[in-house]
Every structure is written in structure tokens, then in C-alpha cells.
Symmetry: C2
């Protein structure tokens, strides 16, 4: 998606350890118009997948999941990293390790929000090791529902997430695929 790639080139900051900061438009400050365009793009790519629900994880997946769900005319659900006091009822739980934060989170979704037979599109902002996306896929499986695909804004194609998703037989759509970082610049696949 060219508009996204241009934005990454212009505003993304490459840091040591293969880290790409895109906090000026994606995951701290947010550009709502770009977010709408990207949601529309996901909705088009999964237009025939008969999606009944979009699933993401808090916090930085929420904005892109919302615009995707809006264009697909379905609700979205965001998995919670911390169970609220209000979530005393039955939940689906999975464990997701974050390489950035170096910690494992217990991630949960209330059972009544994903039913058997649903066709779930998983959406997230970044794909690196695939922990979050595959954790969400595990929740969908526990619900007896189907993962119709995974939509990612920025995939780090040099990390193993994409391969793991392919091995799980799940369709992956990434709006920008990064091949490598060279001299502080992003090289797209």
C-alpha cells in the first residue's frame, strides 16, 4: 500500500535492534485518515471471506481493527492483556510473549463475544515473531470459530512471524512488508 510505505519512509525512525518507530501515525499518535484508508484496504482484500467479526489485541491494534470492521460492516472485539474487575465471567485465555517488552501476558476475550461458526479476521499493527497473531488465532480456535485470515499493517518479513502463519495454513495480508533496514533506511520487500 503505497501511501503507507511513503509515510513509513517519511516518518518512520529506525533504531538499533531492528526497531522501527512509527509512533507519529500508527501507535501513539494516530493519523485517522490513513487509518481509514488502511481499514478500507483490508476490507477489500477480505471482501469475499464472509467475515463476521474482527479480532485484535489492545492497545495499538484497536484503531486499525475499528476502521477495518467499519468497512466490513461487522463488530470488532479487542482481547485484553489484563482482566478487568468487570470480567468475572467465562473467558478464553491465551498467553502471548512480547519480545519488545520481554514479558508474557495473559490475554483474554469474554466467551460470549466469539461464538462457534463465526468467521474471524485477526488484525494487528505489527507482525514480527507472530506471537500476538497466533495467540489470537488460538482464542478463535478455542471458540470453535474459523480464522479467515490475518491482516497486518507492517510486517517485518525478516522475522519468523510470516513463516509461522503460513505453516499454520492461515492467509496473511500485510500492507507493508519490510525486507530489512539498511543504514537507518527501510527496505521494502
Amino acid at each position: 500500500m503505497n501511501r503507507l510505505k511513503e509515510k513509513i519512509r517519511r516518518e518512520g525512525i529506525v533504531q538499533e535492534g531492528n526497531i522501527l518507530k512509527v509512533d507519529s501515525f500508527l501507535n501513539h499518535q494516530i493519523d485517522p485518515v490513513l487509518m481509514m484508508d488502511m481499514g478500507r484496504e483490508f476490507a477489500e482484500r477480505f471482501a469475499t471471506a464472509q467475515v463476521t467479526k474482527v479480532l485484535t489485541i489492545e492497545s495499538s491494534g484497536i484503531a486499525i481493527a475499528l476502521t477495518t470492521a467499519l468497512h466490513l460492516h461487522v463488530p470488532l472485539v479487542f482481547a485484553r492483556k489484563k482482566r478487568s474487575e468487570l470480567m468475572k465471567e467465562e473467558v478464553f485465555i491465551t498467553h502471548i510473549y512480547s519480545f519488545t517488552k520481554k514479558e508474557t501476558s495473559e490475554v483474554s476475550v469474554l466467551r460470549r463475544f466469539i461464538g462457534p461458526g463465526e468467521r474471524v479476521l485477526i488484525i494487528d499493527d505489527f507482525l514480527a515473531n507472530g506471537e500476538a497473531a497466533l495467540g489470537l488465532a488460538d482464542i478463535v480456535k478455542q471458540a470453535g470459530a474459523t480464522v479467515v485470515g490475518i491482516g497486518i499493517v507492517i510486517e517485518k518479513a525478516f522475522q519468523p512471524g510470516g513463516q509461522k502463519i503460513a505453516e499454520a495454513g492461515i492467509r496473511l495480508e500485510s500492507l507493508a512488508k519490510i525486507q530489512s533496514f539498511q543504514n537507518g533506511e527501510v527496505v521494502f520487500a
Copy 2:
């Protein structure tokens, strides 16, 4: 806002301790169309306030802040409850106590995302004791920017948040104001 009130009446669950669960459409599962309508409503109410940025707090403020920012044609920023490894630069920090979770969070925004002279609209899903909204207002003040108002989806008018915001001289717009809960039913103000 009638559509929201109807939704609260139909899907809201009143629990012990004056708790209202609206997780089927607002803060766990999200209804994107209602979210767009509410964002448009905030944009209309603050149309003449010359807003340059929308500010909210992760996670459940993000969706409504996004649709508000979209309709106001400005970016949004969400404050983080936990500093990411990627946020080593200078931040504005405030401390927000959650009565629901019974814990204080250190909440932060990167300094480069709120500048002096900006006109900031604070948006959140719930107002009860006002801790989150006034914490965000404190961040705006630290930045030398102006809070043009606070927009809240559901205000619990029997709790002190609204009064505190009035005393701070800040304009408050709530889409649904709850007067009380009676026999498990919501009574609007």
C-alpha cells in the same frame, strides 16, 4: 444522544457497586457504526473550538477518540499506561488512580506529540471520579497547551467527576448522563 441511550438500555448490564457493563458495544466488543455516530456528534459539539488534537488514554478511549479525530480532521494521541521500551525519549507524565482496578498508573505521552499552543480535546469512554480526564488535562497543561473541552461517552452523574471538571473551568460534553441505577435499570439525567 438517543441512539446511545437506547443501546445502553437494551445491552447495558447493571451490577452491584454501581457498575454498568457496556462491553457488548463500547469497551471490549465495539459497534463501529455507533462509534462513528458518536465521533461525529463530538465533532459537531466542538466544531467551533478550533481543536488541533484529540487526546485519550489506552485502551477503551482509543476507538471513540479515533472517530472524533476523523470527523474533526485532526490527529489523535493516546496516553500510555505503561511506558514501552521504545519510549526512551522525553515524556509528560501524570498519575491516574483507577477506582475500578484499585491501582495508580503512571500515564505518559511523548513530549513531541503535544506542543505549546495546541488546542486539545480530551475524549474518554467513561467519567466517574474524573481521575483519567483530569490526569490527561494535567498532561496538556504540562505541554503549555489548552484543553478546549472533555468529551465523555457515558457520565455517571452521581459520581464527582463532572463537578471536579466544572470546578477546573473545563467544558464537559457527555453523550449519555446517568442519574442513578434503580432496580437494575439505568435512569438517565
